[in-house]
């Protein structure tokens, strides 16, 4: 059965003119992806890759030069306010709150701004305060709360909107390990209990590995990977090998590796190689054989998501796309 796309990003382009040099900068260059109902999608990319531009275009805070974004079938460009009924966001974390109001007053104010009466949201506010472990801090002024509590409150404010799609920009930025874990668990519960669709933009790899089923990696304004997190790791695991060498490599062998194998690492008689073609393994063996280097052990390398990300970013610079 085909899954229902709640967010459709279709070939968006956004360029800016630099104020002084008048140089045209392509912030986003043909980004496309879908987000499906009940899915947690990780949007990854290095600084300046185009993540924030993509997120703000989805929210309608930024108008793309070209391309379309649909939320629940509503064109954000043409019917922005209607589309906003289906989406809420935490864009600047704890900075999204009024620091002179209390936690409860913030929740009530933002609910009012979406047209809800104070009375009608009291039950929901109580539930959220309990869920986010903020009930005992409900009458505390936000500036007196810890960074983690403020971040949780910002997410609670977004959830109060009861919209189908929740967009979180760096939800765990600056949080300690314990609070980061707590936020992740709450997000998992939200998806499980309410079937919400969540888009998370982050640099935090454990968050993506722990929470996201799928990840879209953006680099230099282009999508370089749109894949299930597990599949991405498997894909890289099957192509990465570790050689434990009995004798060190010669200068000549290192030069041959430089010329033949694009991604390898040689540290303390350990040679880690990422294969791009099936016969790369034989090429490595030939290079080792050329100077009679003894091989003590060959292992399939374990790859973590951070390595996958870094490799993709490097590949992205050479216009290699995984999808």
């Amino acid at each position: 059965m085909e899954r229902e796309a709640v967010v459709e990003v279709k070939n968006i382009h956004k360029q800016y003119k630099k104020r002084k040099s008048k140089e045209i900068v392509k912030a986003v260059d043909g980004v496309s992806f879908n987000v499906y109902k009940g899915e947690i999608l990780g949007l990854l990319g290095p600084n300046g890759a185009g993540k924030t531009t993509t997120i703000k275009t989805i929210c309608g805070l930024l108008k793309a030069n070209d391309g379309e974004v649909f939320i629940n079938g509503v064109d954000v460009r043409k019917e922005r306010l209607k589309a906003l009924q289906y989406i809420s966001a935490v864009l600047e974390g704890n900075r999204n709150l009024y620091w002179r109001l209390t936690a409860r007053e913030n929740l009530e104010y933002f609910a009012g701004n979406r047209g809800h009466s104070r009375k009608s949201v009291q039950e929901k506010i109580d539930k959220l305060l309990h869920q986010f472990h903020l009930k005992d801090k409900e009458n505390e002024i936000v500036s007196n709360l810890s960074r983690g509590m403020q971040q949780k409150l910002a997410i609670a404010v977004a959830l109060l909107a009861d919209s189908e799609v929740l967009l979180l920009d760096e939800p765990t930025l600056g949080l300690d390990v314990e609070t980061s874990y707590e936020v992740r668990e709450i997000l998992k519960d939200i998806v499980k209990e309410n079937g919400k669709t969540i888009i998370i933009s982050t640099h935090d790899m454990p968050v993506v590995q722990d929470l996201c089923e799928r990840t879209v990696i953006i680099n230099k304004g282009k999508v370089v990977a749109d894949e299930n997190v597990e599949n991405l790791i498997k894909l890289f695991e099957t192509s990465a090998y570790s050689f434990t060498l009995g004798t060190p490599l010669s200068e000549k062998q290192i030069q041959m590796l430089d010329e033949t194998i694009p991604i390898y690492e040689y540290i303390d008689d350990e040679l880690h190689v990422t294969m791009e073609q099936e016969d790369d393994l034989y090429k490595v063996m030939d290079i080792l054989k050329s100077d009679a280097t003894s091989i003590e052990k060959i292992d399939r390398a374990t790859v973590d998501f951070e390595q996958v990300f870094l490799t993709l970013i490097k590949d992205g610079e050479e216009d290699v796309v995984v999808s």
Partner: protein, 258 residues
């Protein structure tokens, strides 16, 4: 309609909470206005022509109240957008499906309501203290005031639009108080061309009611037509400019820039 009322309630409540939370600031504002009204009621007797004293007091107070209301409404919207952009809440407000223009309108209404209550209370308190009673005629003044305020909201939207794009317009907002002073204090009989400016016709009509005891029938239909026309035109132009500026800010990615 009920969701717009909820929007107004939420924004008025927020303004009220902030007035309470910044209590020393609010208290100093209340004392300042009390003493200014008192000084006007008592002092103008001493410095003006005694035969014209009552007229001078009425003129000065009506003009001052209007100057303050317009200044508060127009400066506040500018400072609010700058402040929201600095602290990171501006984009969150733009995420409301109700639309930012409605949030701004509800803030205008909330602010004008709260400050009107404070000013009316202080005016009565000062009149009680000074033992001098002004000719307020609320049955005529209040409706005229409400129509006049519509043009102030229109001008507020123009300032909000500028602020969304340029953000740092503090210097302009400071100059604005002198522009407003000119518009409010100069009578239309001296500068008839000012009828085209926002809220000037309304202030002039209210002055006629309070100083010369005008009733509804003493005004010509053209006076009402100009008053209503001026308010509607400024509201529409203000809203148009604001929405245009909002679109430009979204195209250029200026919403959260400060």
């Amino acid at each position: 309609m009920s969701s717009f009322l909820n929007l107004i309630t939420a924004n008025t409540r927020k303004e009220f909470i902030e007035l309470k939370r910044y209590f020393p600031n609010t208290l100093s504002m209340i004392f300042t206005f009390y003493f200014i009204f008192l000084a006007m009621l008592l002092g103008i007797h001493a410095i003006g022509d005694p035969s014209q004293a009552e007229m001078n007091i009425q003129y000065a107070i009506v003009s001052y109240v209007f100057w303050f209301l317009t200044l508060m409404a127009l400066q506040d919207v500018g400072y609010v957008i700058m402040l929201e952009a600095t602290r990171g809440t501006l984009e969150q407000l733009y995420m409301s499906p109700k639309g930012m223009w409605k949030i701004l309108l509800s803030r205008f209404i909330g602010n004008l309501f709260l400050y009107s209550v404070i000013l009316t209370f202080l005016l009565f308190l000062s009149m009680l203290t000074a033992g001098q009673w002004l000719n307020l005629k609320p049955t005529i003044v209040v409706p005229l005031l409400l129509i006049t305020l519509v043009s102030i909201v229109g001008a507020g939207y123009m300032i909000a639009g500028l602020c969304v794009i340029f953000k740092q317009i503090q210097s302009f907002l400071q100059i604005l108080q002198f522009i407003l002073m000119g518009l409010v204090f100069v009578p239309l009989s001296v500068a008839p061309f000012l009828v085209a400016a926002p809220f000037v016709k309304g202030v002039d009509m209210i002055r006629h009611v309070m100083i010369e005891n005008y009733t509804w029938l003493d005004f010509a239909w053209t006076d009402y037509a100009i008053l209503i026309g001026n308010s509607v035109v400024y509201l529409l132009i203000g809203l148009f400019i604001y929405l245009k500026c909002e679109k430009i800010a979204m195209e250029r990615g200026l919403l959260n820039q400060y």
